[in-house]
């Protein structure tokens, strides 16, 4: 999809997508009837199981996961020291008003409805979405999909409804793409997860409009642990988009999601993220897709917010000719560390992966790229292309690239390119001589740097992205 200027959008769509940081920075009084309290023990897990009426197998799954979480040391050999500042005893692991997700905005409690109104979600839904789930702290407040899609067999519900009502589809894939023990935070999520989406697209059905989830944190000292499982049956196609905001609290907030995608034979899944958490959120997310024969999984991932993001979306290409792609944009301003990247695991012949990562570091912001590409010896005809470009804005910013490309055997082709550039004084002088102020000049240069990737986002999101970057840039030179 090519970029189109704002003027082609109608006013409602334009308003619907104009989410910015200041727009997300508000909070309503907590209305939680259900609160698991601070800290994490077996009692916390039982509380969540009781509230959610989990089946016995899931209760067992959660308790096991808690053991794994407690046993696993914090990652230290590579990760940011800032992880040590998370106080797991102070966090509240489950908060909800005890209401079931509503199918109509009219039924959503007034303050929650106002929250999503201010974030533009109902307007977006009317303008261009096939379905929406809106999560408020631990549970979805609203969840709806177009009726015609339901009739065609599309399932789009939260994870609790998914496992209760569609266990026969949910359970075989749940925790299979990302096992509990994958890392400390996937174990944490497995123990206390709540919310997130469960999606099933039936064979051969190609969704024309995207499905969207919106994650909102309203409460302080809270941890949001949504769990998403998307299954695209043979030959089906979907695009899923997620957005997120939180008010800026004094204390740190934790967001730790697990997202598993399954693209069966010939299916295509595109997963689009615009992450704009406030700058006190630890965003520690595990995302991975499984692509069977001739299937395709694309992660289109943009990280602008949060204090520390650690996220390496991955694709396991398990079927012949499967394709995996990660398109990643990260913007790290002062006080932020975006530790992002990609994992590409080739597990069948003639599989193809592509990674394009662009990061922008501003002020004291730090951007890190970590990549892992694995092609084992017994395969043939696999291809990987990796491109990492970093843009530095002023000399304090920092960027690191750690590509790990393991290719065994000689019947494969890989390509790796990396570059670091700066917005030069001469470029700024040129742009400013044409009448742009420093912020506008910086925005133009930065938007130019990521322009080829922004085209990969749906038009509505690419406009929002540009706005967010304009705001960040103008703020950074203020």
């Amino acid at each position: 999809m090519s970029y189109q200027p704002n003027s082609t959008l109608d006013a409602e769509t334009h308003d619907a997508i104009s989410i910015d940081r200041s727009k997300g920075d508000f909070t309503f009084p907590e209305r939680n009837k259900l609160d698991a309290g601070r800290g994490l023990t077996d009692k916390t897990v039982d509380y969540i199981c009781d509230v959610k009426n989990d089946p016995p197998w899931l209760r067992e799954f959660r308790h096991k996961a808690l053991r794994v979480f407690l046993d696993k040391p914090m990652p230290t050999h590579w990760a940011s020291k800032d992880l040590e500042n998370i106080n797991f005893d102070e966090i509240r692991y489950y908060l909800s008003d005890g209401e079931k997700p509503k199918r109509s905005w009219d039924d959503v409690p007034e303050d929650i409805k106002r929250t999503f109104d201010r974030l533009g979600i109902p307007q977006q839904e009317r303008a261009f979405l096939a379905g929406v789930e809106a999560q408020y702290d631990s549970e979805a407040a609203y969840s709806n999909v177009k009726e015609e899609l339901t009739k065609q067999g599309v399932i789009f519900v939260n994870s609790t409804e998914g496992l209760h009502q569609h266990e026969e589809i949910f359970r075989p894939w749940f925790g299979k793409v990302i096992p509990t023990s994958d890392n400390k935070f996937s174990a944490l999520n497995s123990a206390v997860f709540s919310g997130g989406s469960f999606i099933y697209i039936p064979k051969g059905l190609k969704l024309k409009q995207p499905l969207q989830a919106y994650f909102r944190i309203n409460s302080e000292n809270f941890g949001q642990f949504e769990r998403t499982l998307i299954i695209a049956d043979e030959g089906s196609e979907l695009m899923y988009m997620e957005g997120c905001t939180a008010p800026k609290f004094e204390t740190a907030t934790l967001h730790s999601a697990v997202v598993e995608l399954v693209a069966l034979k010939g299916a295509k899944i595109q997963y689009v993220t615009v992450q704009n958490w406030s700058s006190n959120v630890y965003n520690l997310v595990t995302k991975r897709g499984l692509a069977m024969e001739d299937a395709e999984v694309r992660w289109i991932d943009c990280n602008i917010g949060s204090r520390l993001t650690i996220k390496y979306p991955g694709v396991i290409m398990k079927g012949r000719r499967a394709r995996g792609e990660v398109i990643s944009i990260a913007l790290a301003n002062t006080g932020q560390h975006q530790d992002t990247g990609a994992k590409m695991i080739h597990a069948a012949d003639e599989t193809t992966s592509n990674i394009v990562s662009k990061s922008i570091s501003v002020g004291k912001g730090r951007a890190t790229y970590r990549g892992q590409v694995h092609i084992p010896k017994h395969l043939k005809g696999c291809k990987n292309n990796t491109e990492c470009d970093a843009l530095l804005i002023n000399s304090n910013s920092r960027t690191d690239t750690y590509p790990a490309i393991t290719v065994k055997g000689n019947r494969h082709s890989t390509q790796h390119e990396a570059s670091v550039s700066q917005v030069s004084e001469e470029m700024l002088f040129y742009l400013m001589q044409r009448g742009l102020n420093q912020g506008q000049a910086m925005s133009l240069a930065v938007n130019g740097f990521i322009n080829d990737l922004v085209r990969e986002f749906p038009m509505e999101y690419s406009v929002e992205l540009k706005r967010l970057i304009d705001l960040e840039m103008e703020g950074s030179v203020g």
């Binding site: 742009l431 001589q433 009448g435 133009l444 938007n447 080829d452």
Partner: protein
């Protein structure tokens, strides 16, 4: 009403003096040319007027229609009406020419006012036609992969779109073949107007065959050493810059 440069002194950041007292008055409606050998300070003069951070003004003044431009930032000077056609225009990867020029025009509008996109493209295409530029040019990234001639034409296109009060052209003729030079000259001549002043900076007399200036100034070692009418260009052509040595020594 003029762009008035009075006893201007400027140094590099390391203190090396480049401009050693330049005085020049460019009234609206006139075309002035500065000629001189490499290293005489011609390009520095243009950058100091535009506000480049690499130079320190150590004395003198530049006023535009009476206003002290040193009180203005780079972008404010631009919006107030000063345009510099660069000798080496920067490349801006990923930003299309059309969006770049549009952003520059948008920056001149009051807050909340939106540039009319249709009218903009009509105007842009008309100017591009005059400069014999292919329509594909609008979608190309600013100056990226442009030939020398394309870059210079792009500078003139921006000049035509932004309609400044005073335009400074820094070595716009360098690196152009004769056909490109004629096209560039056509653009500049089309912009000559009673309300607009020009300062052409050039090493060669060639450009002045196509754009006839009202006055020619010769610069050497950071000063204007001689001023005269268009005939001065021919004198320089005949004798080269060698004879300046006598002037500067005198």
């Amino acid at each position: 009403m003029s762009l008035h440069i009075q006893d201007l002194h400027a140094t590099l950041e390391d203190g090396t003096e480049i401009l050693k007292g330049v005085t020049l008055d460019i009234p609206q409606g006139e075309v002035h040319a500065i000629m001189g050998p490499n290293g005489s300070g011609k390009s520095t003069l243009s950058k100091v007027i535009a506000g480049h951070a690499g130079y320190v003004v150590t004395g003198g003044s530049v006023t535009m229609n009476g206003e002290d431009i040193f009180q203005l930032s780079i972008d404010e000077r631009s919006r107030a009406g000063i345009f510099l056609a660069f000798q080496y225009p920067s490349e801006v990867p990923g930003v299309s020419n059309a969006n770049f020029i549009r952003a520059a025009l948008q920056a001149r509008l009051p807050q909340g006012e939106e540039l009319d996109a249709v009218a903009y493209y009509h105007r842009l295409y008309a100017k591009m036609d005059l400069l014999e530029m292919d329509r594909k040019f609008t979608a190309r990234s600013v100056n990226e992969g442009f030939s020398g001639g394309e870059k210079k034409r792009n500078e003139i296109l921006q000049l035509m779109m932004l309609e400044p009060l005073y335009a400074i052209l820094d070595e716009t003729d360098s690196g152009l073949d004769i056909d490109a030079l004629k096209i560039v000259a056509k653009g500049v001549n089309a912009m000559r107007a009673a309300e607009r002043g020009f300062l052409l900076i050039t090493h060669y007399q060639r450009l002045l065959d196509y754009i006839t200036p009202d006055y020619i100034h010769v610069m050497a070692e950071g000063r204007i050493v001689r001023s005269g009418g268009p005939e001065l260009a021919h004198e320089l052509e005949k004798h080269g810059y060698e004879f300046l040595k006598e002037l500067t020594l005198a």
